[in-house]
């Protein structure tokens, strides 16, 4: 218990009124813990980290941790992050968004942040539903799912967030579930080290609003589902498309180098000021 206690004291805000707002069994806490562990292990300074969120259950994450924290508007965390990183490139800029947050209302900002390649480490907590507002269909809700806004079944196909990020130009794209905590920590560490726009999709679970359409009744069942339905990138290469249907491919999906925006900009700025 020494490590958790140490981390709680070091990283959670003692002045913040707890308990947190998340439901029992929610996956967000697992991610938050993983993020804190990695930050501690890698030795990032608390003063240098800016943790930015949008709106929704994931939007409430930054307030609990002792960094520079910013709870922005729905879908727009990446726009604030862009301004912060460009104004002070020394800062480690991290965003946490939900699925509706990042790829519905924030979809435009998401693809352009990936294309622009400002160094932002982004995490998308994908629980396949709008949780805070009571279980409406999100862009990652499975086709046919019954939700409070699709009472006769969802008519829309779901987004593959990782493929979207990769196509838009993100230099690091990875996926884990909150069940696979060791993998999750490894991916968080790799994403934080990337000098460009990095995105990790963190498949989580909303037992209150998404459990029923996945026919899963408890957090434990939902996490077992994550375990049973995931295949690693390595294993996925040996499987056919039919065999991969409905599976979550976890691991690093893209890792490439491309000049990032702010380094190019500041190089240009250096040349300009000399001229």
């Amino acid at each position: 218990m020494r490590e958790p206690t140490h981390l709680v004291h070091k990283y959670l805000r003692s002045s913040k009124r707890f308990p947190h707002i998340w439901c029992s069994g929610c996956g967000i806490g697992i991610f938050m813990q993983a993020l804190i562990r990695v930050i501690d292990r890698e030795g990032y300074g608390k003063d240098d980290i800016v943790l930015i969120s949008g709106i929704g259950c994931s939007g409430r994450l930054p307030v609990y941790v002792d960094f520079n924290t910013l709870h922005t508007t729905h879908g727009r965390a990446l726009t604030f992050a862009t301004g912060i990183k460009l104004a002070n490139p020394r800062l480690k800029v991290i965003t946490v968004m939900g699925d509706g947050d990042a790829v519905a209302i924030g979809g435009n900002h998401f693809i352009h942040a990936a294309r622009r390649n400002v160094e932002i480490t982004s995490f998308i907590l994908n629980n396949n539903v709008y949780g805070m507002t009571g279980g409406q269909t999100s862009p990652t809700t499975p086709y046919g799912a019954i939700t409070t806004s699709s009472p006769y079944g969802n008519l829309e196909p779901d987004f593959d967030i990782c493929r979207l990020a990769e196509a838009a130009g993100a230099v690091f794209v990875a996926r884990s579930t909150v069940y696979h905590t060791r993998l999750l920590e490894r991916l968080i560490g790799q994403a934080l080290q990337k000098k460009g726009f990095a995105m990790v999709e963190v498949v989580s679970h909303c037992v209150i609003h998404a459990g029923h359409f996945l026919k899963l009744k408890s957090p434990v069942e939902m996490m077992k589902w994550q375990k049973d339905n995931s295949v690693t990138v390595e294993k996925a290469k040996q499987l056919s498309d039919a065999e991969l249907e409905g599976k979550l491919v976890i691991g690093v999906l893209a890792d490439r180098e491309r000049p990032n925006y702010h380094e190019q900009y500041h190089r240009l700025h250096g040349e300009k000021s000399k001229a």
Partner: protein, 388 residues
């Protein structure tokens, strides 16, 4: 010399020919703006183009974003990281920015937004002058909130008020809007710009206590909490939710109401300082024109012509539209038999004038919304018709 104007030292300086939008960019740079995020839109684009060229030389950052929502988001982010920041747009983009104007009001993040107005609604009249965003500037974002909006009527004004917009924004930690019409934005005038030493440049109040004593949204007595930059060692929380003095979300009635009241009173306590206008021939005026922007230019000419004809008329040229200068306007209403409010909209400032009038005098309007400026002759004709 009006109170809002820079008092320049008497040193010979060169006159330069500047476009309004160029003067705005010059003012921003001189005020210390080091971050610009924007999206192209007529008739505001020149500001962005100039900032794209000049900011790197000044050690600042320019970025073209994917839309106007993102532009103001990035500007707010940069401001939180310690840079004075701005964006510029026109009506349709200004509509998109409303979400983040509300955020900047609530989280108290300084930023400057230029709206070079066009006729609306919707795509409207992109290249024609208009003053139809006056109410959007006031109430465009949802919820009760204070706002500051300035209105230049010449190229020099645009320079000066841009500097002042940054000052007010920093002083009160609030978004400040520059409401400009296409005439002022695009015309060229010879101006003598002050040097940086001639200008009073204000900076946001910074914390003087060590980080462990810092309470981010505590009122230090001025109504304006101190503000460190992200990365300065003062780790604090910023949110668009109602928050307590530590910045943490709250729904406690004893925390919610004091916050909204403080947001208003931090500006309203200074209403007496925020009466910025130019007055011409108002001392003995029987009819006083209340105007702003390019309409005030036509009104000035009309006043001169009316005086030649022996009519006792005057002009008050408003530099601040919001908060509405009630004190100044009431004085005008009390000292005139009639007031004329010409505007390039269906009647937005005249509505406010009538609201504070309380039957003190007769308020006449002259509204034009066909995309052309109001001509001096049109104002003169109206003056002759209503002259008591």
């Amino acid at each position: 010399m009006p109170s809002w104007c820079t008092k320049m030292k008497k040193v010979a300086r060169k006159q330069v020919l500047l476009q309004g939008n160029e003067a705005c960019a010059e003012g921003a740079l001189m005020a210390g703006c080091r971050f610009y995020a924007g999206y192209p839109i007529t008739p505001a684009t020149e500001i962005m183009e100039i900032m794209a060229r000049k900011l790197p030389e000044a050690g600042g950052v320019f970025i073209q974003m994917e839309d106007e929502i993102a532009s103001l988001g990035a500007a707010i982010g940069a401001s939180l990281a310690g840079s004075k920041s701005m964006t510029a747009t026109s009506g349709p983009g200004f509509s998109l920015m409303q979400e983040h104007i509300g955020f900047a009001c609530m989280a108290e993040v300084p930023c400057v937004i230029v709206d070079v107005m066009r006729g609306g609604p919707s795509s409207g009249l992109p290249t024609q002058p208009s003053q139809s965003d006056v109410m959007q500037a006031r109430w465009g974002t949802h919820g009760d909130h204070p706002i500051i909006a300035l209105a230049p009527s010449s190229v020099y004004d645009f320079f000066e008020l841009t500097v002042q917009a940054f000052n007010l924004s920093e002083r009160y930690r609030t978004p400040v809007i520059l409401l400009v019409d296409e005439v002022v934005a695009h015309m060229r005038e010879g101006v003598v710009l002050p040097t940086r030493d001639n200008l009073e440049i204000e900076e946001r109040p910074r914390p003087t206590v060590p980080p462990e004593w810092y309470i981010p949204y505590a009122d230090p007595g001025t109504g304006v909490p101190t503000m460190p930059a992200f990365g300065d060692g003062y780790r604090y929380h910023v949110t668009g939710l109602y928050h307590d003095v530590r910045g943490y979300p709250t729904v406690r009635t004893d925390e919610v109401e004091p916050l909204i009241h403080r947001l208003f009173t931090k500006i309203s306590k200074d209403f007496d300082r925020l009466q910025w206008f130019d007055a011409y021939e108002t001392d003995d005026a029987r009819v006083t024109i209340i105007a702003y922007g390019c309409v005030a230019r036509a009104a000035l000419r009309a006043v001169q012509q009316a005086r030649e004809k022996g009519l006792k008329v005057g002009l008050v040229n408003l530099k601040i539209l919001w908060p509405f200068m009630r004190r100044t306007i009431v004085e005008v209403l009390e000292n005139s038999a009639k007031v004329l409010v010409p505007e390039l909209n269906i009647g937005q400032i005249s509505r406010e004038v009538k609201r504070v009038n309380q039957s003190r005098c007769e308020v006449a309007t002259l509204n034009k919304v066909d995309g052309t400026p109001i001509k001096p002759a049109e104002i003169l004709q109206t003056l002759e018709e209503i002259y008591p």
